[in-house]
Subunit: 197 residues, 2 copies
DNA sequence: ATCAACAATTAGACACTGTTCAATAAAATA
DNA sequence: TATTTTATTGAACAGTGTCTAATTGTTGAT
């Protein structure tokens, strides 16, 4: 054993997180195994704990990566210059979750222990998603109401999130709702209408 | 070994689920252990699997019980004849989640394997919560719009759920939002206002 | 060139997890 | 009383993440 050195520490961390991300996409949070990830990249079990610090941090790193993909997906959707940017945002929210079920759900399946704190680096990278929404909400509000954009945007994200959650976990299907995304758009529109005057 | 018989099968199941419920409240989904539950009630490991069928079914039973407590909590809130029943419903949604963090989160932390199906019994008991909301939403809609109550009610539950999720998992606090519940009420009111006329 | 210090990696032990299943003992039935 | 049923066990099994002593390649100083 000892230094193998085909990887720097940073490269190894990248290798672990990217393979972990792949594994998460395949099996989901409940069946995720850091031992399996180790096996796949040809490293020993303990190495992952050494490099990432703990299982929780590995999951946090994987989920942060998912956030970045999601943010990129939203930006790409908007870059297509859709007629209705707000509706496009909801569509992007839903379609990412739908096409990346396991990854998306893992974000909300995981919570770090109450004593542990999320690294600042991770927080910043995750915040980018909400910032897009704040920006777009501000754009549709009248000039004198723009200061309300941040609070309203967060609230609208929560609204869409609730609809997306129930869409994916089957709650809506169970109750006969066939268009959760349309419902989410309707709620968001109502709130935006109420905000301008 | 052999029949001990201080419990019928149904009584034993009740014992397991109620102790499991207590354990879930204490340690939460991530640290829940059916072995620990077995130890606490003085039964052997395998007995739980025998009686409940599987770990997943045990969790499903525990969560169904939580749904029932939650429903009772909402009814109790309404029984106090609040001035605003819709606002009271949101308050009841939030306060139950707040006061029973681990139990409430466990509901959404758990998903059964795609091949398994939730027993009808469980579904019926869980549906009671949504039915309350449908009833109350119908009550505030004008007569000619009452047929829209079921769909709208589910959508509003999703809205409130999203806000409650972000409130409890810290997303709101992180972004400086101090009144998630007020935000949820505001969104619900806007949608109800839009629905009548 | 040698040697010590350092950093990277490992294997295995550890304490857990839920599930399975042959063995067993007590109650119910004949 | 003898036989069948039923309830319950507990050890074995295949997993999990974490920890730690041992080991080895690399680096820097002498």
């Amino acid at each position: 054993m000892g230094r193998r050195s085909d990887h720097s520490r940073a490269e190894l961390e990248e290798l672990i997180v990217s393979e972990g991300h792949r594994h998460m996409a395949e099996v989901g949070f409940a069946r995720f195994s850091s031992r399996e990830v180790a096996k796949r990249i040809g490293y020993a079990v303990g190495t992952l704990t050494n490099v990432l610090g703990s299982y929780d941090r590995l999951i946090a790193a994987i989920n942060t990566r998912t956030f970045e993909l999601w943010t990129a997906h939203l930006e790409a959707t908007l870059a297509r210059e859709p007629a209705d940017r707000i509706e496009a945002l909801v569509e992007g929210y839903f379609s990412f979750a739908r096409d990346n079920r396991s990854l998306w759900m893992a974000i909300y399946d995981h919570r770090l222990a109450p004593d542990e704190i999320m690294p600042d680096d991770f927080m910043t990278r995750r915040a980018a998603l909400t910032e897009i929404v704040v920006r777009e909400v501000a754009a549709v509000l009248p000039p004198d109401a723009k200061d309300k954009a941040p609070r309203l945007a967060r609230s609208l994200v929560a609204t869409v999130h609730g609809h997306c959650t129930f869409a994916l976990n089957g709650s809506f299907a169970l109750l006969g709702e066939t268009d959760p995304q349309g419902m989410a758009v309707a709620r968001v529109k109502e709130s935006l209408t109420a905000a301008e005057a």
